[in-house]
Symmetry: C2
Subunit: 361 residues, 2 copies
């Protein structure tokens, strides 16, 4: 098991990563939960991993109750959030009851938001069970639900007490979801040092086979990058926005197709290809660079092109992006691998050029 | 016009108090709003004060749109909150669009919570139009909506950019609402120095007549007390809880009677009498002290007894209070005027003794 510390201005907390995070609960759980916990999971994850967590809490003498939600991005909304609040109120959860998020990114984002807002802030622990949530969404305190008109539009910055990333839980993850998580791993490789990009290209086959040491190395490296960025810029006033590489395009895909039709990671994969194309349009990347990204995404069985949409649909969705400032869309682009930037002066002609091969007639 | 500064760990901001806060918008508004604002008000306040605010924003060159909500505590819930989110999304409000809360405590609490959570945090300005919101709820960053099972259960600590308390707007306030606000003024007198309590007793008639200087003095004094407390304890880990004097009982009254039947300030008035009775039960206050409080509340035309409820109803409501810890109810009591304390070991017998004259058969 490896331990990483996240130090934000508002709160410091550990991330435990490995195949044995449950075997040392005195270290990984006991210090971070109170006398009572609310375990919040979904219908898919609960049958797999709830009993083990309950046994650990029993052993620690922590009382608990469970709230089981429907599974999927389509349920990351105010109705499901109200199911959490209702369950907390009905079980008389107090301001010091620890909310435990057991599941993937949707569960983590929603439970984090519920914790941020229940009685104006309750403690919470993230137990991410998907690759995407382990490498990205469970770290850094971004919590949110979707609005019908835009993804993650309602939320808060709110840090957990601890994150427990059990790599063993990835063995039950459907292959499509594992690939979706790999999109965020690849994102870190495009944003970070060249060595990690090369390492990832060389180890993608081993990663896809979940070779334990390689998997642990990849998850640790991504969490470390994210922890470094979040420590510098918790509330995304600057460098943290780079982590949205591919996400402006990706969110448009998710919104257009209906939440849950494309997995978030799949939309981000196609979105990163588009961010590369836009970087080409701006004269930053070469076509060969984008081809290298496409090859890596394909090795992870990810889509490398968006669904066909007309330009006005793209524009309509992207004008709801949280990075929009004074009506101006802002995109994360790559000046080179490892050198991201925010482009705030993109005009429609440039966007049309970048999207041209993918537009609907 | 008087100016007070609130300095919390998370944010510092001014409160402008007076009959002329709108006459100096370069000082009171311009520095705190961006290029675009969302004015959020209700059906009662908007016809009275929206046009004046719009004229001021026009003069400042700030673009704006308005969202008008139904009026009343009964609407302080997730449905109305979603009306705010929907309006913000439909008007493409951005992360730097300033939300302006124009109304009383319900509007201020809801808009503050919408601002805390829209795109993970948008700037907001409080323009409280009721006495209660001017002396209490608009200051200090407590934002919330109600849950069907408990008041203010969903919320956040989130500070405004500025607070504009226009005392002139109190002239259109119904007498019952003005009295309700006076309950919070009296609360500050019970919590603070003896001089203010005596001053309030001597000036209650002038206050009820809205004599301008006396009114300004009272609002300023309350805001100053609150600013001092919030600067010491923004997130209510300690002394800030004293501001909940009478509120545990008051929230039970509101929940039992249905939100909006008793005004919040009316419920707090009766709740403060009960807090005094509990303080008597604990041997802290004398009956004569409680009678002094009752006389002051009566001078403000406030209720001094709760509706009749059986003890188990009281207990059921109060066990949902945010101050409950490890199943133990905690009450704000007065060891003496000006000396509040948290009593965490109150048993049912003591509660029954304090409530006895008011219980339903």
């Amino acid at each position: 098991m490896r331990t990483l510390n996240v130090n934000t201005p508002s709160h410091a907390y550990p991330i435990f990563i490995g195949h044995n995070v449950y075997q040392q609960p005195q270290q990984t759980l006991a210090p971070y939960i109170g006398k009572r916990a609310a375990i919040i999971s979904n219908e898919t994850v609960a049958p797999l991993y709830l009993p083990r967590l309950q046994a650990v809490l029993d052993a620690l003498g922590c009382a608990y109750f469970s709230i089981i939600l429907p599974d999927g991005e389509a349920h990351k909304n105010s109705q499901t959030l109200n199911m959490i609040y209702d369950g907390l109120m009905q079980h008389r959860a107090e301001r010091n009851t620890t909310l435990i998020a057991l599941g993937g990114g949707v569960i983590g984002d929603m439970v984090g938001f519920a914790a941020a807002t229940y009685q104006r802030g309750a403690p919470f622990v993230q137990i991410p069970t998907t690759l995407l949530s382990q490498v990205d969404s469970s770290v850094g305190g971004k919590t949110a639900i979707n609005h019908p008109l835009g993804k993650n539009m309602i939320g808060a910055f709110y840090q957990p007490q601890a994150v427990l990333a059990d790599l063993g839980s990835l063995q039950t993850l459907p292959a499509r979801e594992f690939s979706a998580g790999m999109a965020e791993v690849i994102k870190y490789a495009l944003l970070g040092d060249a060595d990690f990009l090369t390492w990832l290209e060389n180890n993608m086959a081993a990663l896809m086979a979940q070779q334990p040491d390689v998997l642990a190395q990849a998850v640790y490296h991504c969490c470390q990058m994210k922890a470094d960025i979040v420590a510098q810029d918790e509330k995304e006033h600057g460098i943290r926005a780079h982590l949205n590489l591919g996400h402006t395009f990706g969110h448009a895909i998710e919104a257009e197709m209906g939440y849950g039709q494309w997995l978030h990671g799949e939309a981000v994969a196609a979105g990163m290809v588009l961010a590369c194309r836009l970087s080409e349009t701006l004269g930053y990347l070469k076509a060969a660079d984008t081809e290298r990204v496409i090859a890596l995404l394909q090795a992870a069985n990810l889509p490398v092109a968006p669904p066909r949409m007309p330009l006005d649909k793209w524009l309509a969705h992207m004008q709801h992006d949280k990075k929009v400032q004074d009506g101006q869309m802002r995109f994360v682009v790559l000046r080179a691998f490892g050198l991201a930037d925010i482009a705030g002066q993109i005009n429609t002609t440039q966007l049309q050029h970048a999207l041209q091969p993918y537009l609907a007639a």
